[in-house]
């Protein structure tokens, strides 16, 4: 074969490779173990300015940005955590004790309901799931609202709270708990609200409702009106709450069986990505479009890193039977809380 044909053939082979396997030539991602900390440390000697809240692996509390536990408690029945507050509560009680991130009691709230934080807003849901109350961190009631049907899902961002009900209705509440918008999804033989998330800008929301079909709706607020921008049918038809996560740069992740869908709000592009087992959580890297995805298959948990356009870029497997696992980014550190420990990894491009 003449030399120039050989050169042309080589060129075409490289071109074909780039077309069909484009990511193999790009840098892969790896997680380098950096530190490991035991969660069974009640409090550190030195107070720290910035803390990251967690409730996982049988513990609740705060770690510093390097993953070092600042204040931890063994989980009682459940825990509500925010960067500034922790409520570790029993299954039956009439008081909630709110502690700051150093473990000092900040306020006590008289209620029989169960607390949870959405972003940094403290909400208490009545035990019959028909009423929500928002409290300040000082324990003062801000507003309360009863609902005609059971609360199935809730999301918040900025001044907005989005509440999904068993009757399929979604209610958008303002800072004072007043109803701004009401969205009743048109599709579905069965009308139930299964999941919701609000974009950090509070302009866009993604809600999932209905069975037969189960539909995801992208909603946007524009000039004081709520508009349905896009909707698409979901294959999995999960009849429990499904994870809907608002990620960086206007993307939403929507849980499906053995995977999830990434929706880019800017161009309405959707990509389905398969992962091993059931999705546990998704965390978006603060400085890029990299996603850390935790899933479970049997007793193994898989941590998968996804780069741009949802291509697989690396990962690791955690063995063990821990029921609660949490992942959070702290700069380029990926902090994994599992098996009673804090595992700190550093993200590196290989």
């Amino acid at each position: 074969m003449k030399r120039r044909y050989r050169f042309l053939l080589s060129f075409l082979a490289v071109l074909g490779y780039l077309i069909f396997f484009p990511r193999e030539l790009s840098s892969a991602l790896s997680l380098t173990p950096q530190a490991i900390f035991d969660l069974d440390v009640s409090r550190t000697a030195q107070p720290v300015e910035e803390t990251i809240p967690f409730a996982a692996s049988g513990y609740a509390g705060f770690i510093d940005p390097e993953g070092r536990p600042v204040y931890t408690e063994k989980l009682r029945y459940g825990a509500a955590v925010s960067p500034e507050a922790l409520i570790n509560y029993d299954s039956v009680s009439t008081q909630l004790v709110l502690r700051n991130n150093e473990g000092d009691i900040r306020s006590v709230i008289e209620t029989r309901g169960y607390p949870f934080f959405l972003q940094e807003r403290l909400l208490v849901i009545s035990t019959d799931r028909l009423k929500l109350i928002e409290f300040s961190l000082d324990g003062e009631e801000q507003w309360r609202m009863a609902f005609p049907s059971l609360v199935t899902t809730c999301a918040a961002s900025g001044d907005r709270i989005l509440v999904g009900l068993l009757n399929g209705t979604f209610l958008f509440l303002d800072k004072g708990g007043d109803i701004l918008f009401r969205f009743k999804p048109p599709e579905g033989r069965i009308k139930v609200a299964y999941g919701a998330a609000i974009d950090p800008s509070t302009e866009a929301s993604l809600v999932v409702a209905g069975i037969d079909p189960q539909t995801a709706y992208l909603l946007e607020e524009l000039k004081g009106e709520l508009n349905s921008i896009d909707s698409f049918i979901l294959d999995s038809e999960l009849r429990r709450n499904l994870l809907v996560v608002s990620l960086n740069s206007g993307r939403f992740a929507i849980e499906q069986n053995n995977g999830f869908i990434l929706l880019d709000r800017s161009n309405l592009r959707r990509r389905k990505f398969s992962i091993p087992g059931q999705l546990l959580t998704v965390a978006g890297h603060p400085g890029s479009d990299i996603l850390a995805v935790m899933s479970r298959d049997g007793t193994d948990r898989y941590l998968t890193l996804l780069g741009s356009e949802s291509r697989y870029r690396g990962g690791l497997i955690l063995s063990g039977n821990d029921t609660g696992t949490s992942i959070v980014w702290s700069g380029d550190r990926l902090i994994v809380i599992a098996d009673g420990r804090v595992l700190v990894y550093h993200l590196e491009f290989v």
């Binding site: 029989r112 009863a146 709450n241 809907v244």
Partner: protein
């Protein structure tokens, strides 16, 4: 004769339809021990169903149906915590929903979607806000979102125990008078009528439960009528639907003491007759005549 308001009439019509659909319903457990009734005080709300005890046992759907929602406490997407613990909501014919709460966790996080009355949908547990192993059962009319007393649609329980009336009181401002000790004449005008009452049955544990119906006659005329039939949502509040309608905050003074609202007493002898009934129709009657100045 009194005229029903339109929403109440619609609700009653829906309730009748629901009861007709419910003729084939079964109890969700084999061993029935009623430990809590519909409409009881739960601190800041009405009890929205009934509680069944009897230890760990299988839980069956009350009728054929389809699972439309289930909540597992350990599921990663269970962001909103649940005082109901692990629970399942089933849809049956006639727009009837049934809810089964405080279940044991499903071992694999999965539940059957098609429900057969002969196949358990779960196991009684103590997840959520629970003081012991029990099942909380709610029934919802999905057309109206009304929460219906499950005892209205389930097969009847044998119950020969009468409800109890511990006391009847008239209150105004800080003053509260016990009608059982009513030797002194009463001042005329408006008084808040309060009852301390409870129910129990052969199937219940010995702690007070809510009865089913209270009727107050003053000088032979029906003055107050309330039943624990269903909860309806209006103006941001759940009411026991009847005339005039009772909200939890306006009605419950303590776990067993309720306010039936204001009555007007005119000068002269006033005869009180208060009839408290349970679900099986057992009645306890309080009668007292008092002098009003």
């Amino acid at each position: 004769m009194f005229l029903l308001k339109r929403p109440v009439a619609v609700a009653l019509f829906a309730l009748c339809s629901l009861i007709l659909y419910a003729l084939d319903y079964q109890w969700p457990v084999k061993q029935v021990f009623l430990t809590g009734t519909f409409g009881e005080d739960r601190g800041d709300h009405f009890h929205s169903g009934i509680d069944l005890g009897g230890g760990e046992q299988d839980v069956y759907p009350v009728d054929q149906g389809e699972l439309i929602y289930f909540y597992e406490e350990s599921a990663p997407a269970s962001v909103v915590p649940s005082g109901l613990g692990n629970f399942v909501v089933a849809e049956h014919s006639g727009s009837v929903l049934s809810l089964y709460a405080h279940l044991k966790a499903s071992p694999d996080g999965l539940r059957n979607y098609q429900l057969d009355p002969a196949v358990p949908l779960g196991v009684m547990g103590e997840s959520g806000s629970s003081l012991g192993i029990h099942l909380h059962l709610s029934v919802i009319d999905s057309d109206t979102d009304n929460i219906v007393n499950p005892l209205l649609i389930l097969p009847p329980l044998i119950d020969t125990t009468h409800p109890g009336i511990r006391g009847v009181f008239l209150a105004r401002g800080q003053e509260e008078l016990d009608l059982n000790k009513g030797d002194e004449p009463l001042a005329s005008g408006r008084w808040d009528l309060r009852l301390d009452l409870y129910d129990q049955s052969e199937h219940s544990y010995y702690w007070p439960m809510a009865p089913f119906r209270v009727t107050v006659y003053i000088n032979g005329s029906e003055s107050v009528y309330m039943t624990y039939e269903f909860l309806s949502f209006e103006d941001g509040t759940h009411y026991l639907v009847n005339t005039p309608g009772f909200s939890h905050s306006s009605m419950y003074l303590s776990e067993t003491r309720i306010s039936l609202g204001e009555i007007n007493l005119n000068p002269g002898e006033t005869h009180f007759e208060i009839v408290v009934a349970d679900y099986a129709g057992n009645e306890t009657v309080f009668q007292q005549a008092v002098e009003v100045r």
